[in-house]
Every structure is written in C-alpha cells, then in structure tokens.
Amino acid sequence: MGTVILLALTGLGLAALYFLVASGLSLVFGLADVLNFAHGLFLGVGAYGTWWAAGNLPGAGPDGFGFVLAVAFGVAAGTLVAILVELVLIRPLYSRTIEQVLVTVGLSLAGVALLQATWGADARPFPRPDWTRQVTGILGAQVPNGGLLLIIAAVLVLGAILAFLRWTRYGLVIRAGVENREMVTALGIDVRKAFTLVFAIGGAAAALAGALGGVYFGTVSPGQGGSLLIFAFIVVVIGGMGSVVGSAYAAVVVGLVQQFVNYYGTSGLGDICVVGLLAVVLLLRPQGIAGKVATA
C-alpha cells in the first residue's frame, strides 16, 4: 500500500513538472500556432535566473522570502526573454509557421549554447530551501516535499491560465488570430499585442517550471530544459493541441504510467509505454484527449 501511495504521489509530482513545462508550450502552440522548440531555453533562463539571483541579488537567497524573490527574478527573466523572442524573431515571420518553428529550433541550439558558454556545461547546485529536500510522511509513504511543491504550483498555474483564457478577451483574439491574422486586424484589433502576451505567459510558465525543476533536481544545467521538452511535447499532443486542461490530464496519465511501469515492469518500459500511448491516442483521436475536432 505504502508503495502504491508513494508511487502515485511521486508520479503526480512528475506529472506536475511535465504539466508546468507543457502548459506554456501548449498555450503558445495552441494559441499562437508556434511549435516552440525554444521553450527549453525559456526554462533554462528561468532556472539560471533563479540560481543567479539567489547568489547575487541583494535580498534574494536560498531560503524563505529570499527564495521567493529569487524565483520571481527567474520568472521575470524568462518572461522578458520570451517577449524579446516574440518581438524580434517571431513577429516578423507571422503566418509563416514553418519558418517560425525553425527559428525556435535555431534559438534552442544557440540559446542552450549561450547558457553553456556563460555558465559552463556542468551542473550547478541549485539554491533551495532546506525543507524542499525533506520528506513528508503520508499514509506510510515518505513523499519528497519537492514533489509536493510542484503539485501545488501546477494546480495554481492551471487555475491562473484558465482564468486568463476565460475572463479576458485575449484568448479569443489569439485563437482567431491564428486562423486568420489579417481578418482580426480588419476587425480593428491589434493582434500583435495579443501574441506577445501569449509568449510572455508561456515564457513565464516555462521559467517557473525551470525554477521549480531546479528545486526538484537540485541542480541546474544548460541541457535540462531540452531533456524535459520531449515529454512535455508528448503531453501537449496527447492532451490536445492548445487545450491546457487536456495537458493537465495528459500530464497526470503520463506521469503515473511512467512511474508505475518503471516500478512493476522493467526499466525503460515506462518511456516506451508513454510513447506508445501517444501513438495510440493519436491514431484513435488525432485531435488529442481534449482537442476540438478540426474540420475544413
């Protein structure tokens, strides 16, 4: 019993991490129609931003309020980078989707290399409050606090994004803008602003994932974002492009499947199962779990 609870809760922690990465990706992908390979870069910026702030920013540190400040700084840095990327690189290429994807590919190469050039290839210990290293006993299972932190953060992010989409006009503008940008302009709306905003939110979510991922992993390294990205992609696709709620479901499924199969099956089977799950879902329901049926 204890094992099952432990696996379930740590699986949810993993799911939360996937969701944090996937949420921004899904938002940008679903709304702005950009398959953003540079998401890993935003993640890295968030993680390194937090790491740098904890060591150098007055008032920030690895503990208590200082840590909150450091994370805030990291998130701000990630957001800023995302905004810049949108303004400088993505915006001039609007409606040329493939080129946009390619620019983000280029950016992911260059960006990670830049992080590495600046801070070296080796993993650095990540500043984090001590309690995140401890465990909490839940029904006989020793559940890592870091995982619990991720779960809470993921729920908050999910709520915030849903609120944004539901209660602001931007969601609408962006969805329409993806379909026909020109026509949105012809309705008197400055669609560019909306796109920048989406990138900003996506970047912020990614940077937060980077910072909390740092807490979870205990280190920060240039390639970290990239390695999480592939599972985040899978989560986004299983969940249905652009459906944040779908991503949440998918993240939970993926996290739990991976965790349980890895325990009860042989190693590596978890990954293969997840990939298989992706293929099956897409073949049965090409639009993903929560995706809308796209018709001509």
């Binding site: 006009r169 609408l172 329409a176 026509m183 012809a186 309705l187 008197g188």
Partner: protein, 241 residues
Amino acid sequence: MEPILSVTDLSVRISGLHILQGVSFTVAPTGVTVLLGRNGVGKTTTLRAILGLTPPAGEVRGTIRMGAQSLLSRPTHRLVRGGLGYVPEDRDVFAGLTVAENLRLAERRGTTPAYDKVFALFPELDRRGRQRAGSLSGGQQQMLAIGRVLLNDNRLLLVDEPTKGLAPKVVTEVAEVLERVAESVPVLLVEQNLAVVRRLAKDAVVLAAGKVAWTGDAGELLLETALTKSLLGVGSAEVAH
C-alpha cells in the same frame, strides 16, 4: 459635397504583376458607391489596398484619403477602429470559433455593440450562437460576416460581394439591409449581381484591366445599353431582368 474617401492614382504591384495601374475615384459621403468590373480586374485588390491589407510582397503607390486623413501606411487595425468596416470577399469568418465568439471578437472597445440590430436582421445568428462558424452553410457565413461589421458604428463600409452564394430571398434581405445601412453610413460596394446594383447604387466606378474605365451616376450607367455592353458586357435588358 466633400467625398468621404478619395483614391488618387492608386497603383498596386504584387510580385511583378501590375494589378492596379493608376486608379482614381471618390466615394460620396452618403449612399452606396459601387465598384464594378469583370473577374480579376482588381476590385478586391482596391478594397484591400484601402485597408492596408496588400500582401507584404506587394507595393502600393498613390494616395488614399478619408477626409483630411491619409490612410496609406497606417496600420489596418487603427483604420478599422477609426470607423472603416470591412466585409471580405471570402467571408473570412473564424472557422474554429463559435458564431457568438466571432461576434464578440468584432466588438470594439468603448462602444456598445448593437446586437439587437444584428439579430433582428439575421435571427439565424442568434439561434446558432454556439455553432462553430466553420460548419455554417455558405450563406450563414455571409450573414455572420456582415453582422460582424454592423455591430459597430462605422464611417465607411467596404463590402466585397456580399450577396455571393446567397439564396434569392436572402439576397433581397441583404440588399435591404445595405440599403438601410447606407442611409446612415456610406458604403463602397463590390457586387456582381446587377439587380442588387440597380437597387442600391447611387454612383458607380467601373474598372477594366487595372484602370478606371468609367465613373458616374449608377442609374445612368445601367440605363445606357451601349455603356453597359461595352463596360460590363451585358445589355441593359439583361440588367433589368
């Protein structure tokens, strides 16, 4: 009367093609001005140039003025917010959004959208509020496209073939709507249905091969068989039909 819109020596090139070659005309501050011409003469291109929607590869020369204000090189969304409404040729409703969302998107900040007016004209749109616009029939999409601009107050409407694909009854209705709209807002209309033209148009501009072939009073144009024959390729008998 001062024209609401004046286009002077407008020329548009798109990837090497000289599509408009020095087009000049004006739109009167009241009533409907109709833009006529065969397929491919550049009617749509003219409307899009006015709105600043020429593709990036294109090159626009000339002047376009609305009142004292020059329109060229101002971003489209500003022009529209300034009261320029556009009903595009291909309807361009947002297929993935519901009808209600399409309408909501067209609301302009700081004004009260005239939903009553729109729903009174097109009750279909009210009924189908939750349907995805992409699954509407062709005619329903056209209604939505027109409904969208009627939500707001405009200073000038640019309407590109609004009756295309509509059932005769709806054509009549749309014509009536436009007639009523034109009482308060001037309209620049592209239309192939000569019956509609006859009913609505006050002034006419005829394009041929990227140039203005004729401008003047629409009634006059449609009455003179020789003129219609040479400009539009149809006898006035057919026009009256």
